[in-house]
């Protein structure tokens, strides 16, 4: 993978860091001059991934969340969100729209649906007891198009 630019950061699984992660993503991808809609899509997808790590990955516990943001050739944005939490027993089921294990917290079960629909590619790898890694990519529209 040819990487034009990259930042990595790590943060504790505090819900206040949901907005901090979005702010960092905005600051990084602005160099690629995204449209307002593209920026909003990416911010929303990152917010979902980080919230999943906090609410589900580290449910009842705490830990660190590692983010990697990359700018790839052809105006492609790559984002990886990794937690070392409890992992997902059945990733396929977890990705079904409206499936949630936290209805009492009013989680709608739409996190992965938002990531899938707002990004071009989504990959979720998880191991029980070891954590979950969400990787997303989105190609920004060519300038002038």
């Amino acid at each position: 993978m040819e990487i034009l630019n990259e930042i990595r950061f790590s943060m504790p699984s505090l819900s206040a860091n949901e907005s901090a992660a979005r702010a960092a993503v905005s600051a990084f991808i602005v160099q690629a001059d995204p449209t307002v809609e593209e920026l909003s899509d990416i911010r929303t997808a990152v917010s979902e991934a980080v919230t999943n790590a906090i609410v589900h990955g580290y449910r009842g516990t705490s830990g660190r969340i590692d983010l990697v943001l990359r700018l790839l050739p052809d105006r492609e944005i790559y984002i990886r969100v990794r937690d070392g939490g409890c992992g997902i027993a059945d990733v396929k089921k977890a990705m079904e729209p409206l499936f949630t294990t936290a209805p009492e917290e009013e989680r709608s079960g739409l996190g992965f649906s938002v990531m899938e629909s707002f990004m071009d590619r989504l990959s979720v790898r998880s191991r029980l007891g070891q954590g979950t890694t969400v990787t997303m990519r989105k190609k920004l529209a060519a300038h002038g198009s």
Partner: protein, 101 residues
């Protein structure tokens, strides 16, 4: 997120400002629920024109208030969301359940 609620003759408007995520939804939820339970309005209108960001936490916030308003014999509606917010609402199919103006 800031919540500012005004009420007159059973019609209440809650102006929401800022960003809705899992972190900010919690206090908004508590504020709105306390108002609904104490004031029992006929209609609660969530004015979302001042919301600049919303992820799926906003869907839970709206659906939870919709359910509580119904249980209290009232109705919830959503007003003025920006286009980026409307896209999240559409994805969730909220417009089939809650009136969006």
């Amino acid at each position: 997120m800031k919540v500012d609620i005004k009420s007159e003759n059973g019609m209440a408007i809650a102006a929401l400002r800022g960003e809705i995520d899992h972190h900010s939804a919690k206090s908004a939820r508590e504020q709105l629920d306390s108002f609904i339970i104490n004031m029992q309005p006929d209609v609660l209108s969530l004015d979302m024109s001042g919301i600049t960001f919303m992820d799926s936490s906003g869907i839970g916030l709206i659906m939870g208030r919709h359910k509580l308003m119904r249980e209290c014999g009232g109705r919830l509606e959503v007003r003025g969301p920006q286009e980026s917010i409307r896209r999240v609402l559409r994805l969730a199919g909220i417009e089939r359940i809650v009136r969006i103006i």
